[in-house]
């Protein structure tokens, strides 16, 4: 109890920082110079309809590379961290039988979900969405599959392969920017195309596709690992 009280005091005094921050915070009424520049020049420079996407993939593409790396590292770490013996993998767990509704629904929904995922990352430069979101949607489809068929194992080698190849391609695409455009991760390797068109904004859709694949497979791998590790015997 004393401990909790002390923690309470601690957090209360921590709020002093936030109170100070809040008091000194003023909402913006116009865009700052940086975002103004993006708002004004992005359509000509990059040609992506979604400003956020253009920032994410190109202007701050290096961050995104980092993001991807983080997910990749997390997946890799979980991969070897939760690795279990092959013999354990084949073991059956004593699980409740999946409900029929779920089984049936998954058969219908999973393709749709995949389609949605593809749509989301393919249209990342036009509409809200992008590789991460799309990838997550696809991974959720996989989760649904796993829920419906809990006995099945994720095929890690397949997903790792997809993940690796997409990651590698992403880096290669980035490097292309050095040689064929103005810098690492520059999307203007390909022609910018028609603003608002699906094949526009240079490399962005391509990059987002690979990111989507990569994120989807990574998340699937993670979920699969988390699931399988339950089988591990002491």
């Amino acid at each position: 109890m004393v401990r909790k009280f002390l923690i309470f005091i601690l957090i209360a005094s921590f709020s002093v920082i936030f109170i100070n921050l809040y008091q000194n915070f003023k909402g913006q009424d116009k865009l700052n110079d940086l975002s103004t520049y993006y708002a004004e020049n992005e359509p000509q420079e990059l040609g992506a309809q979604n400003l956020v996407t253009s920032i994410v993939v190109t202007y701050r593409g290096f961050d995104t590379l980092g993001e991807v790396t983080i997910l990749f590292l997390a997946a890799s770490i979980i991969g070897f961290f939760l690795k279990i013996k092959e013999s354990d993998k084949q073991k059956k767990r004593d699980l409740r039988k999946t409900s029929e509704i779920l089984e049936t629904a998954s058969k219908i929904l999973v393709p749709l979900i995949f389609l949605l995922g593809v749509y989301v990352f393919a249209n990342g430069h036009l509409t809200p969405g992008g590789g991460f979101q799309g990838g997550a949607i696809m991974a959720s489809g996989m989760v649904l599959l796993l829920l419906a068929n809990p006995e099945k194992n994720v095929k890690h080698s397949l997903f790792s392969g997809i993940e690796s190849i997409s990651g590698f391609t992403y880096v290669i695409l980035g490097l292309l920017g050095i040689y064929f455009a103005y810098g690492f991760l520059d999307n203007r390797v390909l022609p910018l195309g028609q603003f608002g068109n699906i094949f526009s904004a240079g490399l962005i859709p391509l990059i987002y596709t690979f990111i989507g694949l990569k994120v989807g497979s990574e998340l699937t791998n993670i979920v699969g690992n988390l699931k399988e590790t339950q089988k591990e015997t002491e």
């Binding site: 921590f14 520049y37 990749f72 590292l73 070897f80 880096v171």
Partner: protein
């Protein structure tokens, strides 16, 4: 040149790519990983070299082809090149080291390792603050993954604590970043610097949050429990990476972000750093787990570096040099230590004696320890020196003190550890293998430490005059360590003699240095000659011996304070290794090192004050120190007195010397102690007598000398071990010398210097003979010896002459010293100290008689019936010294006259007058030549008479003596030696109460208890660590704002 962007893309691409390889092709994956890391190192190296050698200007890398602030840019300048280089080399070697572990976990782990390396590089190079956050997170996640490379409960719980801590820290950073963006409208670091948001309250808070987060990444005390657990729980290869690579990157990040923060943050950071430095080194004192101890040390060192960063305004243009040398030392040493700890696989530091099974590891360990503590010839030596000098220059004495105190704490546990490693029993410890991939990385770093040590010396002006030839020679001897002892001995002897031929002419006209050179280098020749007695390899002996003598020679050659300090520390290293070679000398070697370390910190403090007063480092700057002169001179004297083992600082000597074998004992006692005398002479010459403070210092010094003499001699009388007896006697003799010097008069100095020379002669004889006998008989205890006169007549004669000289009995030369003392004391008016000194001179008879009687006279023990005379290689040096004694005894004016003339330059009044061979002062007179003749003639005549009278004497055997009508039982029970001066002990035994030892033990206990009490905040609960972090932020916040 390869563009810097490839430092990032190559590892990233390969990290992604090797995922494809899957489980089957682990070796290929490993190759790819190593190639990637090698490429990264190559790229950084090429940039670094081009920055160093040409006027290459920094290169910006613009991602996406836009200029900042619109896109993220990276910078490759000299700093970045340096940091990425050290990070990449560390990760490359770390990967080699961890190769098997990584392979076991598959390509995934290799990808993580590459990601880790890449993230650190970006952290260094990026100029975008949000990008920094992202890659910091990558580094954290990768670290969290690497921690569990060796899976187990410990590593997993440590990793989880790490994740909690870094989770909170990075969130704080993110809040800071986003508010910084809010106020500045940019995420570019250069933009932020320009925006100067610190003037706004909110902006200041944002900066605070950013900085505190980076500081927290650097594990400040007390919010660093998680880091310690990580160091302890993770594989030591990972520990090396975190300590060497991550810390370097984080430090650079802090340095980079400092520009945003502005000057007002310097003191805050410095305070945080120094608290960490002192506290974690203090807490390390009670630690017994090796990896956790390394963790404490790592954190402490990083604390020091943070302090240096915070103190950069005071360091001027030396800042970079200091920071780089200290960083590189920490980097090399910690990597080596962690790597070694992974090889030896001993959790408890007491089990590290296992290291001795592989001498290379011991050498590396020693290198790392001395590297960490700033001993020459390593870069940290120059770094610490410049740090102290610059701080003193800016008047920051409190900072100086704090840094030195923290370093001292570090020395305490490192040397304890090192002592355990060198001395504890290792028979029952498990065998282990030294795999090639595990030994190459630390070996490379070990070599690098020496090379960089030389290299960093070239950046220091004062170190330009350093003579590296002896060091090269030592390195050569180290390389041929595998040869038998006599070969190395011959080579070393040749080397020393050649060096004498080179160096001796340099001292032409400087009698003082000539005398000391004769003692140091002549002693070296004799000691090495005596070394021929030893059989086998004597691994490492010649290296450390020569290091000590090189230090001594450099001490004489030194032209400025830095060179003195360099030589002093070099000698300390050598002598430490020599002293710790004895059988049971672990605690003594340890306390020797502690006093030496404390002493050298006192010295450097004093030197700094001298430097500040004078503005340069010449030897002249020792005279007329104007800033805290009393303190400066006292500290310098204190520092030098740790070597002369004066009262209060003497407790290391009896044990250390008592355990040393014959030639080491000779070197340590007869030669090494004189280095302290030389130092005191230098200081006193500088101080002079005029200044008002000089009187008090000299008065105190005089009493210290007198009490040392008394305590040393009385204690010597109560020793049972012959070697300890001689050791205490050395304390007493050095007490005379110190007292003589403290008189600060012509006669006093003559006595002091004369004593220095003669002490070398007669003590040399005693150490070599008694040491040789103790070695031969296998025991130093006098009550186990006895009756050896019949077996070792030559040794007996040598010892007899030596003790007659030592006790100052005419006609031998020891009397000259006593006579000078009388005259000096009376003419100088220091009666009471003088009386104490003279009294102790008389007390010397007690132990001298005991020595010669118990060893040579009395009853011969059964087991020594077949003992032979000492080997020639000992007898020849002994008799060389004896001949020297006899020559000086016959014509003391040969040596006294030049000393007197030399000292006239310093003490023009009150000289000793010479009339032929007759010396006279205002008080008395003495003619050593005539005394010798008179006594000699008389003795011969009486001897003849006695021969005539006693011609009929019948020689009898051992037990043919009066024994109250009985026969003696056995030699053991008939030899009266144990507790010989029991009556004296009853009367004056209270002098032997271990008061000084008790005082130091008390100090040490207090220190350790404090450490033990406060380190309990590291409760092991990850949540508590989170609370520490939050509380830390709040407290710093409340203090700053």
């Amino acid at each position: 040149m390869v563009a810097p962007i490839y430092i990032i893309t190559i590892p990233l691409g390969i990290a992604f790519l090797i995922g494809v390889l899957g489980k089957s092709n682990k070796n290929i994956g490993g190759m790819f990983m190593l190639i990637a890391l090698a490429c990264m190192s190559f790229v950084s190296a090429q940039w670094f070299i081009s920055f160093m050698t040409s006027t290459q200007s920094p290169v910006y890398i613009y991602t996406a082809g836009f200029k900042p602030p619109f896109s993220i840019n990276l910078l490759m300048g000299l700093n970045e090149a340096f940091f990425t280089l050290i990070i990449n080399i560390a990760t490359l070697l770390g990967a080699i080291y961890l190769y098997n572990n990584l392979k076991k976990q598959g390509t995934n782990a290799m990808s993580v390792f590459l990601g880790f390396a890449m993230a650190l590089n970006v952290m260094v190079m990026t100029r975008d603050i949000f990008n920094l956050y992202v890659f910091l997170e990558i580094a954290s996640v990768a670290t969290a993954g690497l921690i569990i490379l060796e899976q187990g409960l410990k590593s997993t719980s440590a990793g989880f604590k790490y994740m909690i801590a870094t989770g909170i820290i990075s969130s704080i950073l993110l809040i800071g970043i986003i508010f910084a963006y809010n106020y500045s409208g940019t995420l570019n670091i250069d933009g932020l610097i320009e925006a100067n948001i610190g003037i706004l309250k909110g902006g200041a808070i944002a900066i605070f949050l950013i900085l505190i987060a980076i500081v927290l990444e650097l594990k400040p005390f007390p919010a660093n429990g998680w880091a310690l657990d990580v160091y302890q729980g993770a594989d030591s290869g990972i520990g090396a990476m975190i300590s060497a690579a991550s810390a370097s990157a984080s430090l650079y990040v802090l340095y980079k972000l400092f520009a945003i923060a502005g000057e007002s943050w310097y003191p805050v950071i410095a305070v945080l750093g120094i608290i960490t430095f002192i506290a974690s080194n203090l807490f390390g004192l009670k630690q017994t787990n090796s990896k956790r101890l390394l963790g404490y040390s790592s954190i402490g060192q990083i604390g020091l570096l943070i302090t240096v960063l915070g103190l950069s305004p005071y360091l001027g243009d030396k800042f970079e040099f200091i920071a780089v040398t200290l960083l590189i030392s920490h980097y090399l040493a910690k990597a080596i230590l962690f790597w070694i700890s992974g090889i030896v696989k001993a959790e408890n530091i007491k089990n590290w004696s296992n290291l001795r099974k592989k001498p290379l590891l011991v050498a590396l360990f020693g290198t790392a320890v001395f590297l960490l503590l700033g001993f020459p010839p390593f870069p940290s030596f120059f770094g610490k020196w410049e740090l102290v000098m610059q701080l003193a220059n800016s008047g920051q004495f409190a900072w100086m003190t704090a840094i030195l105190v923290g370093s001292f704490f570090e020395g305490i546990y490192l040397f304890r550890w090192f002592g355990y490693t060198l001395k504890l029993d290792n028979k029952e410890l498990p065998e282990y293998k030294m795999k090639l991939n595990k030994i190459i990385p630390p070996a490379i770093f070990g070599v690098a430490a020496y090379i960089l040590g030389y290299y960093s010396g070239t950046f220091v002006d004062a170190a330009k005059g350093l003579d590296y030839i002896p060091l090269l020679f030592i390195a050569f001897i180290a390389l041929i360590n595998f040869l038998p002892a006599w070969v190395k001995n011959s080579i070393s002897l040749t080397g020393v003699i050649l060096y004498i031929a080179v160096i001796f002419p340099e001292f032409d006209g400087d009698l003082l240095r000539q005398i000391f050179a004769a003692i140091f280098l002549g002693g070296a020749v004799l000691a090495l000659f005596a070394g021929f007695y030893s059989k086998g390899k004597r691994s490492g002996f010649h290296v450390v011996t020569l290091a000590m003598f090189a230090g001594l020679a450099m001490l004489l050659k030194a032209d400025n304070l830095l060179e003195i300090f360099y030589a002093w520390e070099l000698m300390t290293i050598g002598s430490y290794f020599l002293l710790i070679r004895g059988k049971k000398s672990m605690p003594h070697g340890y306390s020797y090192m502690m006093f030496s370390l404390g002493g050298s910190y006192a010295l450097i403090f004093g030197f700094a004050l001298a430097f500040v007063s004078f503005g340069n480092l010449d030897l002249q700057s020792l005279s007329g120190i104007t800033i805290y002169p009393t303190l400066a001179y006292s500290l310098m004297l204190l520092g030098f007195m740790t070597k002369t083992a004066s009262f209060g600082l003497h407790i290391w000597l009896p044990g250390a010397h008592g355990e040393a074998v014959v030639d080491i004992h000779f070197m340590a006692s007869a030669i090494l102690l004189k280095a302290g005398v030389f130092g005191i002479i230098l200081v006193l010459l500088g101080m002079g007598t005029e200044a008002s403070y000089a009187k008090y210092i000299l008065y105190t010094l005089g009493w210290i000398g007198a009490i040392s003499a008394l305590i040393g001699n009385i204690a010597a009388s109560f020793q049972e071990s012959a070697k300890r007896l001689l050791a205490w006697s050395s304390i007493g003799q050095l007490g005379y010398i110190v007292f003589g010097l403290a008189l600060m008069s012509h006669l006093g100095w003559m006595a002091g210097i004369f004593y220095t020379a003669t002490h070398f002669l007669y003590k040399g004889v005693l150490f070599l003979t008694i040491g040789g006998i103790a070695l031969k008989l296998g025991t130093p205890y006098m009550y186990r010896m006895g009756g050896l006169i019949k077996k070792m007549p030559f040794s007996f004669i040598a010892v007899l002459i030596a003790i007659i000289t030592l006790s100052g009995i005419p006609p031998l030369v020891g009397f000259a010293g006593k006579w000078l003392f009388y005259n000096a004391i009376i003419s100088q008016g220091l009666y009471f100290q003088g009386i104490v000194v003279l009294f102790s001179g008389i007390v010397a008879f007690l132990y001298l008689f005991r020595l010669i009687y118990s060893v040579f006279l009395g009853q011969l023990k059964d087991e020594h019936r077949n003992v032979k005379e000492l080997p020639l290689c000992l007898l020849i040096p002994i008799y060389i010294l004896i001949i020297a004694i006899m020559i000086i005894s016959a014509r003391p004016d040969f040596i006294l006259k030049p000393i007197g003339n030399y000292l006239l330059a310093y003490f023009p009044s009150g000289a000793l007058n010479w009339n032929g061979t007759m010396a006279s002062t205002g008080l008395g007179y003495w003619d050593g030549y005539w005394v010798m003749i008179i006594v000699g003639v008389m003795f011969t005549l009486l001897f003849g008479w006695l021969l005539i009278l006693n011609s009929k004497s019948k020689k009898v055997k051992q037990f043919n003596m009066v024994y109250a009508g009985e026969k003696p039982f056995r030699p053991e029970t008939t030899h009266m030696s144990y507790n010989m001066f029991s009556g004296y002990n009853k009367a004056l035994g209270f002098f032997m109460m271990p008061g000084v030892t008790g005082f130091w033990n008390w100090m040490s206990d207090i220190l350790h208890d404090t450490a033990n009490y406060f380190r309990r905040i590291y409760s092991g609960n990850g949540q508590s660590y989170a609370i520490h972090i939050i509380a830390y932020i709040i407290i710093i916040y409340l203090i700053v704002f």
